[in-house]
């Protein structure tokens, strides 16, 4: 039953108050919500176990990647630690024909889109420009310029509408991005053209060292209605609430109702990247408060209460994460350095007379210094 909530008028569901929508408390107790319960009533215990496993695997992968950076195997890594519910809960609701435009911390989203774990680290190992082909997984390679991808998602959604399809484009970005003009412009275009796009903001409280208060003096979700876009503020560490919010947004977009803005309130439990040092700016008390709201522990407690987290399940999830970690490490370390001449590849889609000469000269140089033909 997903008909309980009207998606006829775009402004019907703006829930932008200070208290985020929550369906699971930090201790894993189910909170009733007359507005959102119907959107997740078909979610079974088995579904939740699968979600739990995904979250555990992604966290393990993320930790392995951080370790690989410390061991010199990656140049840099941006951990997604703590944001698993926001990412898994939202991405699992997407169809294959939907399309994601993300920032660089959305490892959980990429995982559910079908990106191989080692492919997520190609760029960070410095062996390739891209980790994957966007069209095979329905997800663009990450945008590093903050907020830029929100416009790409909106344009893609304008194309979906032109094609008469019921797919949806999703822009993932963080709280810092909401200060960028691109995000505001994206909302203007999305509203004016009723584009089927979801603006999924993971408010992880930090833009490197800047607390969210520097980006926003009021809840971020409160901005969208001013653009004519309904929005919701959801507990981003509550996977069930994230799923519910995403389902409302997707239903609206697929039925011609246009864009939705979701602010998933979460916390970046790790550093911005492995080059960052949160001890210079992060309050330890705040960190501990958020640790108590951990998304995986929360789901674990809920599953425990449901009585489905048996020893057998725990063993199987542990085996799954160990296996993923082992395979990832081996595949990542096996990623080879590219050929020097490949620097000229894919700069242009068509032959370019300007680049050809430089390429031939560099080949001659390599032959000269290496004493071999190229």
């Amino acid at each position: 039953m997903r008909t309980g909530l009207s998606v006829q008028t775009p402004t019907a569901v703006s829930d932008t108050g200070n208290e985020p929508v929550q369906l699971l408390t930090p201790l894993g107790a189910r909170v009733e919500s007359p507005e959102y319960d119907s959107w997740v009533e078909d979610v079974t215990a088995d579904d939740l176990l699968a979600i739990y496993e995904d979250m555990v695997v992604v966290r393990r992968f993320d930790n392995e990647a951080t370790a690989l950076q410390r061991q010199g195997q990656l140049g840099l890594w941006p951990p997604s630690l703590g944001q698993e519910a926001a990412q898994i809960g939202s991405a699992r609701e997407l169809r294959q024909d939907d399309f994601v435009f993300s920032s660089y911390r959305e490892h959980g989203v990429a995982y559910l889109r079908g990106v191989q774990l080692e492919d997520m680290t190609r760029v960070w190992r410095g062996t390739a420009n891209a980790g994957w082909d966007p069209f095979t997984v329905g997800m663009a390679t990450p945008a590093v310029i903050i907020g830029a991808q929100s416009l790409h998602a909106t344009g893609y959604a304008m194309g979906i509408k032109k094609d008469g399809a019921d797919s949806v484009a999703v822009a993932y970005f963080g709280d810092g991005a909401t200060s960028q003009g691109d995000v505001s412009e994206a909302m203007v275009f999305a509203a004016s053209f009723t584009a089927p796009v979801i603006f999924f903001c993971q408010n992880n409280q930090w833009a490197i060292s800047e607390p969210v208060g520097i980006q926003a003096a009021a809840p971020i979700a409160g901005r969208a209605p001013g653009f004519g876009i309904p929005s919701v503020r959801v507990d981003g560490n509550d996977v069930l609430a994230v799923m519910a919010a995403m389902r409302v947004a997707l239903a609206r977009a697929r039925s011609g109702g246009g864009a939705t803005f979701i602010e998933a309130v979460t916390y970046r439990m790790g550093p911005h990247t492995t080059s960052d040092d949160p001890s210079r700016y992060e309050d330890l008390g705040e960190h501990e408060e958020w640790a108590a709201k951990d998304p995986i522990k929360r789901l674990e407690a809920h599953l425990d209460a449901l009585g489905v987290l048996t020893d057998e399940v725990r063993t199987s999830v542990k085996a799954a994460e160990d296996d993923a970690a082992k395979r990832f490490r081996a595949a990542c370390i096996a990623l080879q350095d590219p050929d020097p001449m490949s620097v000229f590849d894919n700069v242009y889609a068509e032959p370019n007379s300007g680049l050809e000469r430089q390429k031939r000269e560099f080949a001659a140089y390599l032959s000269y210094v290496e004493g071999t033909e190229r």
Binding site: A140, I145, L151, G155, Y156, V188, D345, N346, A349, S353
Partner: protein, 334 residues
């Protein structure tokens, strides 16, 4: 053959592209009902509908950024930036996104975007309406940059730009919009990356593009009266540059003058002078000369006749290359 103004020729090219390919879209500010502030898209909304000739919100980054998303979806957008000086809000989307997406995706994504930009001065306008920002984009890998100088090229090159699977910045010489010329709508065009020798000569090679090609031709005519034979090359493509055509010409003439409205410092003239000096060192009879805008903001309209290179400044540079008396004869630089 039909006689068209340069602006109508661009419009004819856009009409043809819209008719030939359903995935071609036009996007920009005021391009629909108004037909653009220069009327280049006049009538196209009525012919092809508001779904394909799209009046956008007033946001340049938004226009280019959403056009990128449309490219992911298989669309071929032609966006209009209303004036040269309005392109900077879209700078990130152009140089960090449009230009690099093909490389960033290891070749998976193509961005066959055309960005139309009326550019250049001498129209008596105010700040931000007379600039020549082409060097920023020529410097950026992944972009192609072109500028037509006449109605036939305007028609052919806009079609080639739209057909290209690479992003193309198409700089329109706005003060030549009303120049008339014969246009053959079925002409097999010269390759988009080729320069064209538009007047043959033997003493000096004069390179220009966009609005200054007409000025260069006038200068060549005037010089011939004084016994100097100038070969004029219309560059057409600013990235890549057809250095082979320039090299052949300079090896013949031994002298090179480059002119553009954009500031001289780190402009296209510098790149051309450096490359041709490298390739034609033993043919050169004089140092290459540049005649360009000053390294100043574009000035108020009452000063622009001094800023924009004109026939006299070009001929003065020609005189420097042939050793005739000129404005710098006896000039002590330091």
């Amino acid at each position: 053959m039909t006689e068209l103004t340069l602006s109508k020729a661009i419009g004819a090219g856009l009409r043809r592209a819209l008719a030939d390919d359903d995935h071609v879209l036009l996007m920009g500010e005021d391009i629909g009902e108004l037909g653009g502030v220069f009327r280049v898209t006049d009538g196209l909304k009525h012919e092809f509908g508001a779904e394909r000739v799209i009046d956008t919100p007033l946001a340049e980054a938004g226009i280019v950024g959403t056009a990128i998303g449309l490219a992911f979806r298989g669309y071929r957008a032609v966006v209009e930036i209303q004036f040269d000086g309005f392109i900077y809000p879209a700078f990130d989307q152009i140089v960090a996104q449009v230009a690099k997406l093909h490389a960033r995706t290891d070749g998976a994504v193509k961005v066959p975007l055309t960005i139309r930009v009326p550019f250049g001065g001498a129209i008596g306008s105010v700040e931000h309406h007379s600039e020549s920002p082409e060097a920023y984009f020529a410097h950026t890998a992944g972009l192609r940059v072109v500028s037509p100088s006449n109605p036939q090229d305007a028609y052919s090159m806009i079609r080639q730009a739209i057909a290209s699977d690479d992003p193309v910045i198409y700089f329109e010489p706005k003060r030549r919009y009303w120049t008339k010329g014969e246009v053959d709508l079925e002409l097999e065009p010269l390759a988009l990356d080729k320069a064209r020798v538009v007047r043959h000569g033997s003493d000096v090679t004069l390179v220009a593009y966009g609005p200054l090609v007409a000025t260069a031709l006038d200068a060549a005519e005037a010089a011939s009266d004084e016994g100097v034979s100038i070969e004029v090359i219309d560059l057409r493509s600013l990235s890549p540059i057809d250095f082979d055509t320039l090299e052949d010409s300079v090896n013949k003439t031994g002298r090179l003058v480059i002119t553009h409205e954009a500031a001289q410092f780190a402009g296209l003239g510098a790149e051309i002078a450096a490359t041709i000096t490298d390739r034609c060192f033993y043919s050169l009879e004089a140092p290459p000369q540049r005649v360009a805008g000053f390294n100043t903001p574009y000035p108020p309209a009452k000063l622009e006749e001094h800023f924009v290179p004109d026939l006299d400044r070009i001929l003065d540079a020609v005189d420097r290359t042939v050793g005739r008396e000129n404005s710098l004869t006896g000039f002590v630089a330091r």
